[in-house]
């Protein structure tokens, strides 16, 4: 069936074809062979996750739905939903601000609301589709162990995607009106990062303050907390009931979510075109940097380092992208602060060590990509009278300097509580940050800084290696902090990950 041009169905076909090709391109990097490998890897991952799911939640499948179960399921649903809202805000902002084909569509004699309605639905659909591979193993195990009632969890994902998109679109429009089109993009992206992390962090901070443990489940299982919750018949538990297979609750949640999405489309889609036109009319930047100072005397390496720091500092979008990682440092910081209070938190501090090491590795990886691969004037730097190895060295120094600036205060504070933990954490941070930076260096490519969000496209191997390396060094530091000789095992594994990555990396001619 061929849809009438300009209709919502016609636009939907067009949008989904583009989305599909975009996704395939992102997965394969334009290489068919790589696509097969990615499909095989995803399949293996999904199978592996079924085992993980069985180990983690298999025993809960037959649990009778009581208040504690509702609380735990609601927390999981809420955490996932907030992550979806965060992702939806990213997508909605992009729909407003990314030009791509918008100029063509808005200049054509078709109803713009059709395309925006389709784009809003596409956001909701892509959220649900992205969540499915992650949630499916858990749901499958619950179905296998607890019966068909758990099938409702799949429908709940669709409802969550719809509700998350409705909220994200509404929030974006409110921001557009309240803070203005110029600031909406930045504020929305920061808000997206905060929303995505807020719930987990909030639970962890509450757990630390109430029980001195970083585990968020400790709060959810505490009697004091459970006593304050609404009774089992409350509407607040409907999402949890829906996930647990209560058909009435599922129908209610699904209907409400879809109604919210529909209302958002009807109310917002006709205005979205105007917003997009306003956004496109923005002067990209008449940002004036007033200064009276003169030029500084700097070596070539200093000039490069200062440039990197200045570019990062002035790019709120990049700051918001790294903010997510930094937000996860709040619970360890609170735990550290609480350890000062009671003075005997050495055992609890064990949990701090891997969190800090892992965060350092992740932060270093992101910054290293920006400094090494995300060079906006590669020809300028390459044509300067400075040997390439000095350029690379200056950029590495810029990255490690920033990592040091972020983590040094925490390590120093830790040293007052436990010098041993501080020593291990410091070493772990240095090794994890160096490993992540090295991986980015071996797999460096030439890209624009604005492509940061899609940096994993250039090399999936580097992305996974960076993550596994950080996890490996975090585990090594955690075991070493407990003074266990066993630390050599994760240490060797982490080293093998890094060494293997180096062997598989493309050789760089001017390294």
């Amino acid at each position: 069936m061929i849809a009438q041009p300009g209709t919502a169905v016609w636009f939907a076909r067009h949008e989904w074809r583009l989305a599909w090709r975009d996704w395939i391109g992102m997965m394969s990097g334009g290489k068919r062979k790589r696509l097969h490998r990615v499909i095989a890897a995803v399949a293996l991952f999904v199978v592996f996750m079924h085992f993980v799911a069985y180990w983690m939640i298999g025993r809960f499948a037959g649990t009778a739905p009581d208040q504690a179960t509702f609380a735990a399921v609601t927390a999981s649903v809420l955490m996932s939903w907030l992550l979806m809202v965060s992702q939806a805000m990213e997508s909605t902002t992009r729909a407003l601000y990314a030009r791509s084909d918008l100029d063509l569509i808005l200049a054509s004699p078709v109803a713009a609301e059709n395309v925006f309605a389709v784009r809003i639905v596409t956001v909701a659909a892509s959220l649900a589709l992205m969540a499915l591979p992650l949630a499916a193993p858990f749901i499958d195990i619950l179905i296998a162990r607890g019966g068909w009632r758990w099938l409702g969890a799949y429908a709940l994902i669709v409802a969550m995607g719809a509700a998350a998109t409705a909220l994200a679109v509404a929030l974006s429009v409110v921001l557009f009106r309240v803070v203005g089109p110029k600031r909406t993009r930045f504020v929305a992206q920061v808000l997206a990062a905060v929303i995505g992390a807020a719930f987990v962090i909030g639970l962890q901070v509450a757990a630390i303050l109430s029980s001195g443990s970083i585990s968020r489940t400790s709060l959810l299982q505490s009697q004091t907390f459970l006593a304050r919750l609404p009774d089992a018949a409350s509407l607040a538990w409907w999402p949890a009931r829906a996930a647990l297979g209560d058909l009435t609750a599922l129908a209610g949640v699904l209907a409400l979510s879809l109604a919210l999405l529909l209302a958002t489309i009807v109310l917002v889609a006709p205005r979205f075109g105007e917003y997009a036109i306003v956004a496109s009319g923005l002067q990209a930047g008449v940002v004036v940097q007033r200064r009276a100072r003169s030029f500084h005397r700097r070596t070539q390496q200093q000039a490069l380092r200062v440039k990197e720091w200045m570019l990062l500092w002035r790019d709120p979008w990049l700051v918001s992208q790294t903010l997510m990682q930094m937000l996860y440092l709040i619970p360890p910081a609170v735990l550290l602060w609480r350890s000062f209070d009671d003075g005997h938190g050495a055992y609890q501090l064990l949990v701090l060590v891997p969190v800090l090491v892992m965060a350092a590795g992740q932060l270093a990886g992101g910054l290293a990509w920006l400094a090494i691969s995300g060079e906006d004037a590669p020809d300028l730097v390459a044509s300067a009278p400075i040997p390439p190895r000095f350029v690379v060295r200056a950029k590495i120094e810029a990255v490690l300097g920033l990592v040091a600036a972020v983590f040094a205060p925490l390590v120093v504070a830790l040293a007052f509580v436990s010098p041993w933990h501080a020593l291990i954490t410091g070493l772990g941070i240095v090794v994890a940050a160096t490993a992540a930076t090295s991986i980015q260096l071996w797999f460096r490519t030439q890209a624009k800084r604005s492509q940061f969000r899609r940096r994993q496209v250039s090399s999936r191997l580097a992305t996974f290696a960076e993550a596994f390396s950080s996890i490996g060094w975090a585990a090594t530091a955690a075991v070493a902090a407990a003074s266990l000789p066993l630390a050599i095992v994760p240490g060797v594994l982490a080293f093998l990950v890094v060494a293997g990555t180096w062997l598989m990396s493309p050789r760089q001619p001017h390294a």
């Binding site: 002067q283 990209a284 930047g285 008449v286 940002v287 004036v288 940097q289 007033r290 200064r291 003169s294 030029f295 500084h296 005397r297 700097r298 070596t299 070539q300 200093q302 000039a303 490069l304 200062v306 440039k307 200045m310 570019l311 002035r314 790019d315 906006d376 004037a377 590669p378 020809d379 300028l380 730097v381 390459a382 044509s383 300067a384 009278p385 400075i386 040997p387 001619p509």
Partner: protein, 259 residues
């Protein structure tokens, strides 16, 4: 036009670069100090590849590059000190202001701060960018960005300026400013080698013109010399007052016919 006794600013001998096919195929080229040299050729002729090899951004598969008596392949850092490279896509940072950009570039080339600041203010004045000196480049038009890039290229007073299609996308006013600055550099003894598709620019500005096709130098000389090499034919194929466009097309047609 520089006398034949002027020292060589650039000398290419047997330059070869292959990608899937030969992009530059045994190119010999000499440019004297103080000369404005325009390199013309159709798309894919090897112009940009040649310039990128001179600027040290690509390594040739064979041949040699000498920049004012320095072997640029043996000592690229020394050669880069004397050169500046500008492409058709301005190489600037959106989040820096023109002054900050010039401070960064002068840092890379090791220009002393006081001298760099003085030159920066002069260059921004010549290029009509003084009013925008403290604005971030992210809101600049293509012409303004190209002028910032040009100021960056000139801040260290290079002896050899290499430009790849520097006037693409510029309005008439910006193009004139860029041309004036380049003329001034040549008048002061600098050497300019530039590719362009705007034949009028080559005709008016260049002391000598090289025509490149399929990676080889097909013809070289002043406009008059090129006309003679092409047989002085105009667009209609008859002998007459041929424009550079007629000459250029006639020169390119000859090797194709020979092939």
């Amino acid at each position: 036009m520089q006398p034949a006794s002027a020292p060589l600013a650039l000398e290419l001998a047997g330059l070869v670069k292959r990608f899937d096919r030969p992009a530059v195929d045994g190119l010999d080229l000499s440019v004297r100090a103080g000369e404005f040299y325009a390199l013309l050729g159709p798309n894919g002729a090897g112009k940009t590849t040649t310039l990128r090899m001179i600027a040290g951004l690509l390594r040739p598969d064979a041949g040699s590059i000498r920049v004012a008596d320095i072997d640029a392949l043996a000592d690229p850092v020394a050669a880069k000190r004397l050169m500046a490279w500008i492409s058709d896509e301005p190489m600037i940072y959106d989040k820096l202001t023109p002054l900050e950009y010039l401070e960064f570039v002068s840092g890379l080339w090791g220009v002393t701060p006081a001298l760099a600041e003085m030159r920066a203010r002069d260059l921004l004045g010549w290029l009509d960018l003084t009013a925008n000196a403290h604005e971030r480049c992210e809101g600049f038009s293509k012409g303004m960005r190209q002028k910032v890039a040009l100021a960056g290229a000139l801040i260290h007073e290079p002896r050899l300026i290499i430009l790849d299609e520097p006037l693409t996308g510029l309005d008439a006013g910006s193009a004139r400013q860029v041309k004036n600055v380049l003329r001034e550099r040549v008048r002061c003894g600098g050497t300019v080698i530039m590719t362009t598709h705007i034949l009028e620019v080559a005709e008016r500005m260049a002391d000598r013109i090289g025509v490149i096709g399929r990676g080889k130098l097909i013809a070289e000389g002043t406009l008059e010399e090129l006309r003679l090499q092409a047989g002085g034919k105009n667009a209609a194929g008859s002998v007459g007052a041929a424009t550079l466009e007629d000459t250029f097309l006639a020169l390119l047609a000859e090797p194709a016919e020979a092939a």
